[in-house]
Symmetry: none
Subunit: 197 residues, 4 copies
């Protein structure tokens, strides 16, 4: 009876369009009109599904993080149990994201990071995402580190790598050649391994 709800799908379509537009023109440039056009829907429909631009951004952040996380989880699954390999797999997965494969996501993520500066709500979820990344790294580092490595040191290493990944993203967003994929991956591996000693 009645019209079947396609809300979830529509929300995803809209968020996907938003991410693409934002990657191309920044958050301010991602006007509702531009997003609507990209999605091929009237502007009002966006407001039928989202409370506003901020709500759309917040929802997109979740989507972006999920996409990033899924990506490296897939890789981790393919990796064996060797702790060091697992740690490197994590790093590889993230740094490789700067590749064309998902450039839009990475660039959009950089925009989120900048909005986090100005908008408390965005900052909250952005920082949470960073912490989740660091926590994941902490476990990987803990498993890969020498037996008596202090918890503090593990935490620091995890934080540093988490931050470095963010830097790779930023650089990749503005200059693909700066840290060409192959190079960046290799070097990030070296940095990570360096922290294990």
């Amino acid at each position: 009876m009645a019209r079947p709800s396609n809300t979830a799908q529509r929300r995803d379509e809209i968020a996907a369009s938003f991410i693409e537009v934002m990657a191309a023109t920044g958050y301010a440039g991602a006007t509702m009109a531009a997003v609507a056009e990209r999605a091929g829907i009237p502007q009002g429909l966006i407001h039928h599904h989202f409370d506003g631009k901020l709500d759309l951004l917040m929802h997109s952040v979740g989507r972006l993080e999920r996409r990033l996380v899924e990506r490296y989880e897939t890789r981790l699954r393919r990796t064996g149990t060797d702790p060091v390999r697992r740690l490197l797999a994590f790093v590889d997965a993230h740094v490789a994201l700067g590749a064309d494969a998902d450039r839009a996501s990475v660039t959009a993520w950089v925009c989120v990071g900048a909005e986090a500066v100005a908008e408390p709500a965005v900052r909250r979820i952005y920082v949470q995402a960073l912490r989740r990344r660091r926590d994941e790294l902490r476990e990987l580092f803990a498993a890969a580190s020498a037996p008596r490595t202090s918890r503090a040191r593990v935490l620091e290493s995890a934080g540093a790598v988490a931050a470095a990944i963010e830097g790779i993203f930023q650089v990749a967003a503005v200059d693909p050649t700066f840290a060409a994929r192959g190079h960046a991956v290799r070097t990030m591996r070296r940095m990570t391994l360096g922290l294990l000693r």
Copy 2:
């Protein structure tokens, strides 16, 4: 056209206000009205000294970079001739910038990085700044590396550290406790040293 005003000082005052406001509210939030109020001048006056908001941003980027560069140059000067020490001094200087000492500059810099995504003119000078940083690091790495280290490897190391610094800035801008100064500095040193082996 921005006049070759006798009041270069005014331009600096305005740019300084712009940076502060941008650090607090982002680029979009740094309205001309807000900047003018912060500087304690009428809004129209900004347009006597700058061609527009973009011009103001471009000028501020130069100012920010100069400020950052001056800071670590001072440190480098205090450092001896040992190549490794010099390299670490460079890293220390940058990472320490996330401290309260110049938080506003760092946060504003992050905003510049996001604007670079959307605005070609900004991207150009932002990328140039990143390259200058990498080039500086390249020389430092070259001097500190083992004799036969390949040029490519030195370049990659420099790029990775340059990017990591950007990541530290981003994280520091939204979460001062994430990479508390002391920790971040120490870990960045370890990462850098790791790349030398």
Copy 3:
């Protein structure tokens, strides 16, 4: 076209919800979405029962007037045949409406009065309602006045009391303590009696 629905009850439910929402947030604030939510029905259903928001308002005006009229008619019935008592019963009944008993109706009525300013269709039925009230008062005044009181004078008295009641409603809608029920009733009685002399 509003269907001659078998669910006249639905229309009433919707109108009741509309009145409540309008009393709380004004006519503009009584959005179809808010009314639907209040009524616990989907938004589209309102349009099955009413031609539009204006139609809903018009129907609600009738409902409000009926509610008000019923109230004082009940009182009049309980009152004997003494003309003065009947006149005072009418006044009491209206002024007492400002009490919590039916505050929402009174407040909604005030909103109707304001919409009558801008919307001709509303003005028409609102003015008609005011005239019916005045006409009712005219008869009561005629019966209660001294034998040779002129028709003009009776009409004027009726109009003044009718208007004063509207004023009591307005005041009650925004400030329940202004004309606390007991006081207002007593004073309106005095005013009415004063007009009889």
Copy 4:
């Protein structure tokens, strides 16, 4: 030097236009575009002088009240010292306002009364205005009443007349013939005098 400020005058012009448009089309109908057109200025200029529509409304309320107050104060000044005459002068002045002389103000005032239902900020200043009117009447009643009249009774009388005036405004706003000026004035006088006995 520089451009002389005409802010105060502009604000008044805008508020005057707003009142006129609101009297014609209600608060919701008084769009910024309509007000701007009426004032013969671009829409943006309104926002240069007022924080928003609500701010414009608030400012207009002050203006309306001042206009009303000035009007009867002028009359009071022309009236001698006889307390009853002064009281009646006050009543006359208000009721006569429904005349064409200042119909727009009265109608706009009715719109304010309706907005007071929905908007707390408006309610606050509207209620304050009503209280000032009542307080003024209280003093006049106190002076005109029989020596031992209780304070409570004086207050009640003042409140009732204050409310009745609001009702006259409402009625005048939608139906000029309902309480034609002459009649309304005469009857309100009788009502007021009735309260003195």
